[in-house]
Amino acid sequence: MGKIIWIIGFMSLFLYAGDRGNEKGMLQANCLSCHQKQQIPSALIYKRYLMKYSTDARMEAAMFTYMKSPKKEFSIMPAPFFSKFSMKQKMPIKDEDLHRSIKRYLEKFDMKKKLVLEKEKQGAQ
């Protein structure tokens, strides 16, 4: 019985790791490869979204809307940006895959998990 549990557990872990690896590959292939090629800093884009939308859910919704319909009014970049750079093309990607890629993107650049508490200043007011 113990062996069966071990095998099921190991299989689940393997499947999950496989799934994660798949998402990572999808993000790299669909998003980051282009960003890196064109030297578009993904972390800064994340910070712009975070500064405007605050929560992951709202950021995800805003990114999804833009990806599905890349227009100035849905973009996080300011309007003058597009006088210099052209608008990106709509990507032929399934909604489900897009959602998973965005989630993976948010997770990758999440700033909140980098937060640590400063050691208490002694004698500070």
Binding site: M51, R58, K114, E118
Partner: protein
């Protein structure tokens, strides 16, 4: 201190001190509430300043490109950031506080809106423990103020209370003296009457009865005069004066006859200088009280074998005795009710008060000229 006086003083003090206490308590409470608000507002201002400072740190963290983002942590000021949906992101509180249930006891909170959302934070909550020291100092000061005010107002209240009951104390003392004098004054003539009646019944011979009867008559007249004086004083305010043309000279002569028995008992020499047809517009009872009191006083305070001089002219009426006289400083005092220059003699001290009332009612002038141990002249002038 009399029991009623003590009771009045206690009641006054209770009302005075309780009303003062209530007034001061309300004023102190309002002052306390206002000052406490002021103290807390000042502490809240510090918190607002701290919130601005933390926001600057959040902005710097947001733009930092480091592996770790070090969130500010102060032992006295705690803070936390929340996203736009008010979900907790991060903070320095030991336990993440819920924005809908903030434990406000002993803690001051300040909520700042963060715009734009650095690190995704839409709200910044800052808190610090209330500094009780200035509030405790305020409470202590108010307590000391109340204590000092309580002591001062208690002393003031006691002093005012004594002033407040002083007229009552005087009235009670006068009343007690009056009752003592009345009982004494009534006792003497009544005892005289009873003793002489007894003597007539026991030993009375025909020829000796006239002496006892004279004493009885004298005592009865004294009683009658006391009755008249007391009635006059008692009814003075409701008394309706019946003004008639009255021959003052004749009235004084009548009253001298009336008092002759008293004068004889003291072996007084009577001298009279009474003008005819001195007509005054006066109520007969007032004129009687005036003459009777001046005559009886002159007889009472005269020395045995002295002289009684009665003068009625067209302008004044005067009675002069050769008695004990009145000290200069006592002359004004004896016009007051229940005051007597010499308490060794009987009486209530109401005689000159009655005379003074009559004199005032008719606009006459009363002058008392007295020399100690030589005699007194009392003069009532009606025409200048």
């Amino acid at each position: 201190m009399l029991r009623s006086e003590k009771r009045s003083l206690i009641r006054f003090l209770l009302i005075y001190l309780s009303s003062t206490f209530i007034l001061f308590s309300i004023a102190s409470w309002l002052f306390y509430v206002s000052s406490k608000h002021h103290i807390l507002d000042r502490q809240r201002e510090t918190l607002e300043y701290e919130a601005e400072h933390i926001q600057t740190q959040l902005r710097n963290l947001h733009h930092a490109n480091t592996e770790k983002l070090v969130y500010p942590n102060d032992p006295h000021i705690k803070s936390a950031i929340y996203d736009v949906d008010k979900h907790y992101i991060f903070g320095s509180f030991p336990k993440a506080p819920s924005l809908s249930h903030l434990e406000k006891k002993d803690t001051l909170y300040y909520m700042a809106h963060v715009e734009p959302y650095f690190l995704g934070a839409a709200y910044l909550l800052v808190a610090q423990a209330v500094n009780d020291a200035p509030i405790e100092a305020l409470q202590k000061n108010i307590f000391i103020f109340m204590l000092i005010a309580g002591i001062i107002f208690s002393l003031l209240g006691y002093y005012l209370g004594r002033l407040f009951v002083a007229p009552m104390r005087d009235s009670l003392n006068q009343m007690n003296r009056f009752i003592q004098d009345t009982t004494h004054e009534l006792n003497t003539p009544i005892s005289t009457i009873l003793t002489n009646i007894e003597m007539i019944e026991t030993f009375g011979k025909e020829e000796e009865r006239s002496t006892e009867l004279k004493r009885i008559e004298l005592a009865s007249r004294t009683l009658s005069r006391i009755y008249d004086d007391l009635t006059y004083l008692n009814l003075n305010h409701q008394y309706h004066r019946n003004i008639v043309s009255l021959d003052m000279g004749r009235l004084v002569e009548e009253r001298m006859v009336y008092f002759s028995a008293m004068a004889e008992a003291k072996s007084l020499k009577m001298q009279r200088d009474i003008a005819e047809n001195v007509i005054l517009q006066i109520d007969r009872n007032d004129a009687l009280r005036l003459a009777d009191n001046l005559l009886s006083n002159a007889i009472k305070y005269n020395k045995t074998g002295g002289t009684l001089t009665v003068t009625v002219s067209s302008t004044y009426f005067s009675v002069k005795d050769t008695g004990i006289g009145i000290k200069k400083e006592n002359i004004r005092m004896i016009l007051e009710r229940f005051k007597r220059a010499d308490s060794s003699e009987g009486g209530f001290g109401i005689g000159l008060d009655i005379v003074n009332q009559v004199v005032h009612a008719y606009g006459f002038v009363l002058t008392i000229d007295s020399q100690e141990n030589k005699g007194t002249e009392v003069r009532v002038t009606w025409e200048k």
